[in-house]
């Protein structure tokens, strides 16, 4: 049986690298993209079993991409974990959890990401 494929989309390359290392160590196949537009292209190339998606990104933010995926019948079933740098941790952000709920993400992980929590969330959605 082939490994489950997780796509990580985040404009912080070190975070992508770290999360990717963690998921690969658990036996997942991992794809990487560095902004919303690139993430969208990567999904067209190969449908992920789970999408890990940052919110604040250039060109197309995570909320926009999640909303588009959830309103398209070909991609609406892809489970999405949103990485949200919002709330108490980052008071300067203009993003809110309410927007995340509105775009029907399947799970939310606050940044800075707790790696174990993220892996658990991915495994729960597979």
């Amino acid at each position: 049986m082939s490994a489950k494929y997780v796509l990580i989309v985040d404009d912080d390359p070190d975070l992508v690298e770290t999360v990717s290392m963690m998921l690969e160590s658990k036996g997942y196949e991992v794809g990487k993209a560095y902004d919303g537009v690139e993430g969208e292209e990567a999904i067209k190339q190969r449908r992920p079993d789970v999408l890990v998606l940052d919110v604040m990104m250039p060109r197309k933010n995570g909320y926009q991409l999640c909303k588009e995926l959830k309103s398209n019948k070909w991609t609406e079933e892809i489970p999405v974990v949103l990485l949200t740098a919002v709330g108490e941790a980052v008071p300067t952000t203009s993003y809110s959890h309410a927007e995340g709920l509105a775009v029907e993400a399947d799970d939310f992980i606050p940044k800075p990401v707790d790696a174990a929590t993220l892996v658990e969330a991915v495994e729960r959605l597979l």
Binding site: P13, D14, V16, E17, T18, A85, V113, A115
Partner: protein, 347 residues
């Protein structure tokens, strides 16, 4: 001129609006924590880019937001012993390419692009994912153009596409993404890499830089890894001091490649050394992280051989015999998960 096939790569960032402060000193005339990182942290100055290379003389280069540049320069100058040379270079930018996957051919190709674009290079720093160059902002367009000659980017077809896609306002060095401050700084993971060799070379020209790039690409052809690379200017001589690490059991082969590619260049070699790689989060966006690290190591009397901080992470090299002590110190200083995956391995 050698002909290479363009390498497909994930992404590219240009962060403008920076100021660069470089310093060269005899050892102990400028202490990395007490004279650089601590005063900057006390003044809430963020270090988006920092490299430190120790040797007969110590060399460091850092980048702050443009407005903090003058203060950073004054702080370093005030704390340094009189024999320290300190220089301020406003109008700096950071150009970062990722992911390098520790592949020397990617890092080499990046350096080759810098050489061919004839940029005045202020420093180089590697993170677990990225290789970053500090350079005058006016050279950013030239280097991006050259990078498109040597790499294929999945998100952009041309330099024009890249610049058109940059969100207004342009991404700034001083941009603070995360403002949170923690009692104990959280780290995604701390990865240790023992049994490394440290190599150093003084590069004095674009031709020398291109030769160094060729050497790294030779290492890449052999399938080897390059977990660490940093460079800082040697003020006075005009040379750029480049330090990088390779797996320790390849001494003879690396020496031969460097000797062939860099004739006449005095090479520095130190072994065994160990690398410690602290993966984020947001180390490049918050002040005081480098200070916390360097203060802990200085208090424990663990000398740094080299350090590189860019993007979200800090990488450091120490002598191998200090590894266990350094791991203990960092484990007590930062909140890190108990188990970390090892990351890319191999020769």
């Amino acid at each position: 001129m050698e002909k290479f096939e363009r390498i497909r790569i994930g992404g590219l960032k240009v962060m403008e609006g920076g100021a660069c402060v470089a310093a060269s000193s005899p050892p102990a005339a400028l202490r990395l924590d007490a004279d650089v990182c601590a005063p900057l942290a006390r003044n809430r100055i963020n270090l988006t880019f920092l490299t430190h290379i120790a040797g007969d003389h110590d060399h460091q280069v850092l980048c702050t937001g443009a407005e903090a540049g003058g203060t950073a320069y004054t702080l370093v100058k005030t704390h340094a012993a009189p024999e320290t040379a300190v220089q301020l270079q406003p109008g700096a930018a950071i150009v970062a390419l990722y992911p390098h996957d520790q592949r020397p051919e990617i890092i080499g190709n990046f350096i080759r692009s810098l050489a061919r674009a004839r940029v005045r290079l202020g420093g180089l720093a590697s993170s677990p994912s990225a290789i970053a160059a500090l350079l005058p902002f006016r050279h950013a367009k030239a280097i991006v153009g050259q990078l498109f000659e040597n790499f294929r980017f999945s998100a952009f077809a041309s330099p024009e596409d890249f610049f058109a896609a940059q969100p207004p306002p342009a991404e700034l060095v001083e941009k603070v993404v995360a403002t949170y401050q923690e009692k104990v700084i959280k780290v995604y993971c701390i990865v240790a890499r023992p049994d490394l060799d440290l190599w150093g070379a003084g590069i004095s020209s674009a031709t020398g830089l291109e030769r160094l790039a060729g050497a790294l690409m030779d290492l890449g052809e052999l399938g080897w890894r390059l977990p660490f690379l940093a460079a800082a200017p040697e003020l006075g001589s005009g040379e750029l001091l480049v330090s990088f690490s390779t797996q320790g059991d390849r001494y003879g082969e690396v020496r031969d490649i460097l000797a062939r590619r860099l004739p006449g260049v005095k090479l520095m070699h130190l072994a065994p050394v160990a690398g410690l790689f602290l993966h984020g989060p947001h180390f490049g966006d918050r002040y005081g992280i480098a200070h916390t690290l360097t203060e802990a190591l200085e208090k424990a009397h663990i000398p740094l051989v080299a350090l590189s901080c860019t993007i979200s992470s800090i990488s450091l090299l120490i002598r191998q015999q200090e590894l266990a002590a350094a791991q203990l110190v960092l484990g007590n200083t930062f909140a890190a998960p108990v188990a970390c995956p090892a990351g890319p391995s191999g020769p």
